[in-house]
């Protein structure tokens, strides 16, 4: 042998052939079953009798199926959350408290703007109910409306007339102003009529909104004239106020010094300077306590009413607008510092001549965002632009969505919400048919046709103050005598007459205790939990592990494929050699004898190995006895030797 050959042989001896040594797939399977670490497989091979073997095959397959099923369940339930409720007792940040008078503007200040509207409202009342003189509890001196204006052409009633509908005659309506019957075409929308039908009289009041061409009118009817007139008044009111600049509106409303008579927080006096102005379109000037920008948030380190906020509010009932608001008092809302106060939707009302004590409990909630739930952390992934100058909330998103749609469809913005960039508030000088448009859009919004409800998502974390409200009489009979004069003195120059107790309201807002509950969602499963659950399942059913999985990959993919590849290769080689040896007469030799020495017993050709086995030839089983023993190094070596041996004749 050449030295190169020698080295090669040495290497072959030292580094035996790797990869599958089993000659056939069946052998490989057998080897796998005997040597694998999983428990079922070995039983299949070892057990005797067909029934037992079948049973074991059944068990093993069932176990495999169970493993797959359970693991699938584990994977699918991976994104679940577990909720924990924690209670802390600690110093708590006091929330921002926004207080508004229910009446937005002093009636004496806005009267010149609303004079025409008021007059026409009175006229409508006269023609409908036969009275014109409205007796309020307190007569204002300069209130008598000018009878000279009676002759002027009514512009509001002309624009959107109030109508009296007779239910018997469909499509007929009587105009209040002209008294003439007129034809009503188009759809009649009964407000609240589909909820309940309690109105017994045949006549209903409503108004008609027509777009410019006035072919497709929408008529709104109400079961009661109170609702109809208020709604009608409000529409015109918004029209008028939309044209007034903001500074003027702020001046027409209440100042902080006027609204807040006294203020007391955490045992220390406070005054109007501790409040920040917030102008709400429908409620006028509102004042927020503890909501100052660039200042530290106040906090309470003691529960109870004496350590909370105590304010006495001046309601000033005389300045109330009789048609716009019909209740007296103030509205208060408790919110987070960076939240927008939706005072119209969520406010708590406060009665005058009463002490309203509001005890708070703080609950914080934290939800997990994607992929656990659909909530959003800061609203940046919601495709609606936030037109409010505040942090995201579902309410803000819905309002922004509606306002944006309003600007898109009607060309102008609705008065009670902030303006989107480059838009104006609606008024009928510039947008004559905005009301019709608004009503249509609003109906679509309520019926979820605009898609706002599906686009907007809830915020992931929020603070909630649970309120316990209770009322008591204030001032008490005996203290009234001294309290009212002192309060009048406190108001000083602003009010020169003596205060009445129905003009005042006392408000106490405090933490009942400093227990803060936080509801926190946390992932119920972590990846290591999932793996260990997998491990538990695999171990329980089959005593299997990742090693077994690697084994399976090794045996079923790598080894099987390489066996197949080897056989194909040998077949190809054989075919090649046969073609070479085609002229040779002894060409048709058994193909199988070439690769497995153990099996060429059928072959008649006396090879070296078969010759060795010659003596025990009668027992056909004998060649099967020395099967490949993979688990010992020594046998491997022997086997590889044999392989090289068998290859030798091929090279000839």
């Amino acid at each position: 042998m050449a030295p190169g050959e020698k080295i090669k042989a040495k290497i072959k001896r030292n580094l035996p052939v790797t990869g599958p040594q089993a000659p056939t797939i069946k052998e490989l399977m057998r080897w796998y079953c005997l040597n694998t670490n999983t428990h079922g497989c070995r039983r299949i091979v070892v057990s005797r009798g067909r029934l037992r073997r079948l049973l074991w095959i059944g068990f093993t397959l069932t176990a495999v199926a169970l493993i797959f099923w359970q693991c699938a369940l584990l994977v699918f339930s991976f994104y679940t959350v577990s909720v924990s409720i924690k209670v802390h007792f600690e110093k708590l940040d006091f929330p921002a408290v926004t207080i508004c008078n229910i009446n937005p503007y002093k009636y004496s200040a806005v009267r010149h703007l609303l004079a025409d509207l008021e007059q026409e409202t009175r006229e409508a009342l006269t023609s409908l109910y036969g009275f014109s003189e409205i007796k309020s509890r307190k007569r204002r001196e300069a209130e008598t409306w000018d009878p000279a204006a009676e002759g002027t052409q009514p512009k509001f009633l002309h624009k959107f007339p109030l109508l009296l509908f007779d239910q018997d005659e469909k499509g007929k309506a009587r105009d209040f102003f002209t008294g003439q019957k007129r034809k009503v075409s188009g759809s009649i929308i009964h407000k609240a009529s589909n909820v309940m039908h309690v109105h017994e009289s045949k006549q209903v009041v409503g108004f008609q909104l027509c777009p410019n061409d006035s072919s497709d009118c929408a008529t709104y009817t109400f079961s009661s004239g109170v609702n109809a007139i208020q709604e009608w008044y409000k529409l015109h009111y918004m029209n008028i106020m939309a044209q007034v600049p903001l500074e003027k509106k702020i001046n027409m409303s209440y100042s902080a010094e006027e609204l807040l008579v006294t203020c007391f927080f955490d045992g220390v006096s406070c005054d109007a300077r501790n409040f920040t102005l917030f102008h709400h379109p429908m409620h006028g000037n509102c004042y927020s306590f503890n909501n100052r920008k660039n200042e530290t948030t106040l906090s309470t380190s003691m529960g109870g009413s004496e350590y909370g906020l105590q304010v006495i509010l001046y309601i000033n009932e005389e300045e109330y607008n009789p048609f716009l608001v019909s209740s007296t008092g103030a509205k208060v809302i408790i919110h987070q510092q960076n939240e927008y106060p939706f005072i119209e939707d969520l406010g708590t009302e406060i009665e005058s001549a009463m002490a309203t004590s509001i005890g708070m409990h703080l609950t914080e909630s934290f939800k997990l965002s994607k992929p656990y739930s659909q909530c959003t952390e800061d609203g940046s992934d919601v495709p609606i632009k936030n037109i409010y100058n505040a942090v995201y909330s579902l309410q803000i998103c819905l309002h922004s969505c509606f306002q944006t749609k309003m600007v898109e469809k009607c060309g102008c913005a609705q008065y009670s919400q902030p303006l989107p960039p480059a838009a104006n508030y609606c008024n009928y000088q510039q947008h004559p048919n905005w009301m019709y448009c608004y009503y249509q859009l609003h109906r679509d919004f309520v019926q979820e046709k605009l898609g706002c409800q599906s686009v907007c998502r809830e915020a992931c974390s929020f603070k909630e103050w649970t309120l316990t409200t209770s009322l008591a009489q204030w001032p008490s009979e005996v203290s009234e005598k001294w309290l009212l004069p002192v309060l009048t003195w406190d108001q000083g120059q602003q009010i020169n007459k003596k205060l009445n107790k129905t003009d005042l309201a006392k408000l106490l807002i405090f933490y009942k205790d400093l227990n803060q509950r936080s509801i926190v969602e946390s992932p119920a499963n972590s990846i290591e939990m999932l793996l260990s659950n997998f491990g538990g399942q695999l171990g329980l059913w089959m005593s299997c592990s990742v090693v077994c999985v690697i084994e399976i990959i090794e045996v079923f993919f790598i080894d099987s494929l390489s066996i197949i590849a080897r056989r194909q290769w040998q077949k190809a080689k054989e075919w090649w050699s046969r073609r070479q040896a085609l002229p040779c007469p002894e060409a048709p030799s058994s193909p199988r004898g070439q690769d497995n020495p153990a099996l060429d017993i059928d072959d008649d050709l006396p090879t070296f190995t078969s010759a060795l086995h010659m003596p025990p030839a009668p027992g056909s089983q004998v060649p099967g006895t020395p099967p490949p023993r993979y688990n010992t190094l020594r046998l491997e070596r022997a086997f590889s030797n044999q392989l090289t041996d068998t290859q030798v004749p091929d090279e000839h």
């Binding site: 790797t18 209670v87 008579v261 204030w474 005598k481 695999l538």
Partner: protein
């Protein structure tokens, strides 16, 4: 004898182990262990061997890492909560009712006479633009006034605020009494303040108010506190509203009850308070049905005409629901009920039960809180409110050497009053403003583990109705005062309905999220997932380590022996070793390295003699095992 033999055998087995060299041991371990990876290391070809070695190490590392994570999670003592909502028969909460005014004015007039006169004078001063009533002030008792006077601070010139005493002729002239053009300025220009001076009057602080209303109210409260603190509690109780005056009618479910079913307690702020169903000794009353019919119905008379005018500006009933064995902190947690109305209160019991240490920082009975509970005299359970108030009172006693009237006293201490402790108002004001101290109290007090809150749904209606007003007042007046005249009015009468809602409890209960079973099953899961191992595998591993140690010891002993022999040999360093010595040396294990080192001519010997050496280690396990496997597999195939 038998035992000794057995022990020897054991020792021998222990000593022998599964091999004499590290390699043998490792091979034996890998071949026989039940963990899945190591077996493959030895029974595969070299490339795969390397791969399996790497995989086994990787998985072992993974298992260790994940175990670390699990153990850390376990030691974080997390809790999981379970929530249950429903209705069950429960103990009715204790109901505390107080009148908003602490005393009947007619009975305390003699105590407050001077103060009230002074107060009226003050109000006249503030309100009247002209000091025309100066002659009327002569009759007043100025000792009270001079101690803590109300002053006006004129801030129209912000650099030189002018301090004016309300009664000019009585101020002691220490401040520059400028010739003020206006005697009393209006609210915009001036601030009212309370002057609090130390004992000798050298050091004064001003407590400022933005409104006169607050200033006079606070001032009056301070003075009244001062007066009441000197009266023994027995007398105070007599001056308050008696139960039979306050409670007119009571009905619990179907059973009538009366003021005798109420326990009296004296609250410094609200006077006499009456508690229904306070289960201090007797068993609490249960309520097994939801709805108004099965709850507590009360009719109370607050007697608004007899209110202390300057002390109680709010009229109504203060009430509170609490647990049977807890003290009612009615000023913090109470709600109002208005006169002339019927107030219906639906109750939901919101209970939170916590695990305690180490899961959540809370205390079961308050014994581990470093603050003495002054409310323990009432025989009530620990609550954080009690702790905070005791903490405040404790600070008060330590800094001002007297206790505040609103909180209970420890033994041997006195309530603050101007006569004995002239400095106390200033000291108290300082204590009250001390936020750092309050926070330290919050830090020291722990929450109670069982926290019960009563969530109330409050609704109101006018009561009595106009139609029924007349006879109701007649009947109630007759019952209480035995008079045919009306002694009650709409301004004083309050009706209360307290009942369980349809769902009357919501219990949030904590349980350990990760218990030891959880930990073990997860540890097992991880080990099983990556390596198919179990605890037995760990024991196997431990065994191998013991064997390792044994082998090391044996080797060390051999080495030590060798060293000793070399030393003994070193004595005869001169002559070369004889043949007999060499032969002996070769049979000896420890001697071998020495000879190879020592002389170059002996190098040849070990090489030549090497064949016998491998023979010395006893049974080669590998070969033994092979035989077994062979026979096994043969048996299988047949």
């Amino acid at each position: 004898m038998h035992v000794k033999k057995y022990l020897l055998k054991c020792l021998h087995r222990l000593q022998k182990g599964p091999g004499y060299t590290y390699k043998e041991l490792l091979v034996w371990y890998c071949d026989n262990t039940n963990t899945h990876g190591p077996k493959r290391i030895i029974c595969e070809g070299p490339k795969k061997k390397a791969m399996w070695f790497f995989i086994t190490l990787l998985f072992a590392a993974l298992v260790c890492w994940q175990w670390g994570l699990f153990i850390r999670t376990y030691l974080s003592w997390e809790v999981s909560v379970s929530l249950s909502i429903g209705f069950k028969a429960m103990d009715f909460p204790a109901v505390t009712v107080c009148n908003a005014s602490p005393f009947q004015y007619s009975k305390v007039t003699h105590l407050l006479k001077d103060l009230d006169e002074l107060m009226e004078a003050v109000l006249r001063r503030i309100l009247a633009p002209e000091p025309s009533l100066a002659n009327a002030t002569t009759a007043l008792n100025f000792t009270i006034w001079n101690h803590t006077p109300l002053v006006l601070i004129d801030e129209r010139n912000p650099h030189h605020p002018v301090v004016l005493d309300l009664f000019r002729e009585n101020h002691n002239g220490s401040e520059s009494s400028s010739p003020a053009p206006e005697r009393i300025c209006n609210a915009q220009g001036c601030k009212m303040a309370m002057r609090l001076c130390s004992l000798n009057g050298t050091e004064c602080t001003f407590r400022n108010f933005t409104s006169a209303t607050q200033a006079v109210t606070e001032w009056y409260l301070l003075q009244a506190t001062n007066i009441f603190a000197q009266v023994p509690q027995q007398k105070l109780v007599e001056m308050g509203y008696p139960a039979e005056r306050l409670i007119l009618a009571c009905l619990f479910g179907d059973e009538p009850c009366s003021y005798r079913n109420f326990t009296s307690i004296f609250d410094p702020h609200y006077g006499n308070c009456y508690i229904f169903n306070w289960g201090m000794t007797e068993k609490a009353l249960p309520s097994a049905n939801p709805g108004t019919e099965f709850g507590l119905k009360l009719i109370l008379d607050i007697g608004q005409g007899d209110y202390v005018p300057f002390l109680a500006s709010t009229a109504g009933v203060r009430l509170m629901l609490h647990e049977q064995r807890s003290y009612p902190f009615i000023r913090d947690e109470g709600i109002y009920a208005m006169s002339g109305t019927e107030t219906s209160i639906g109750v939901l019991v919101d209970k939170l039960q916590r695990m305690g240490e180490p899961y959540s920082p809370c205390t079961v009975n308050g014994s581990d809180v470093p603050i003495q509970n002054f409310y323990s005299d009432y025989n009530t359970t620990y609550s954080i409110q009690a702790c905070l108030r005791s903490c405040f009172q404790d600070h008060m006693i330590r800094n001002c050497s007297c206790g505040h009237y609103l909180y209970p006293l420890p033994h041997g201490e006195k309530y603050c009053n101007t006569r004995d402790f002239p400095d106390w108002a200033r000291c108290y004001s300082k204590q009250q403003m001390n936020v750092a101290q309050r926070e330290s109290c919050i830090g020291m007090c722990k929450e109670s583990c069982n926290d019960t809150q009563y969530k109330m749904t409050i609704s109101m209606a006018d009561w009595p109705s106009e139609a029924s007003e007349d006879w109701i007042f007649h009947v109630l007046s007759q019952e209480r005062d035995r008079s045919t005249n009306l002694t009650l009015s709409r301004k004083g009468i309050v009706k209360l309905n307290i009942y369980f809602q349809e769902f009357n409890y919501r219990t949030i209960e904590e349980s350990a999220a990760n218990n030891i079973v959880w930990l073990l099953s997860n540890l097992g899961g991880q080990f099983g997932f990556w390596m198919g191992g179990s605890v037995l595998c760990l024991i196997e591993f431990g065994e191998i380590i013991i064997d390792f140690v044994w082998i090391t010891i044996i080797k060390l002993v051999a080495l030590a022996k060798g060293l000793r022999q070399r030393r003994t040999q070193a004595r005869y360093a001169g002559p070369p070793p004889t043949v007999a010595e060499l032969v002996e040396a070769h049979t000896n294990f420890g001697f071998q390295p020495d000879t190879t080192h020592h002389s170059p001519n002996t190098v040849a010997y070990p090489d030549e003699q090497s064949p016998p050496i491998p023979g010395t280690p006893p049974p080669n396990y590998d070969s033994l095992r092979l035989g077994v496997i062979e026979s096994d597999s043969e048996g299988d195939t047949i």
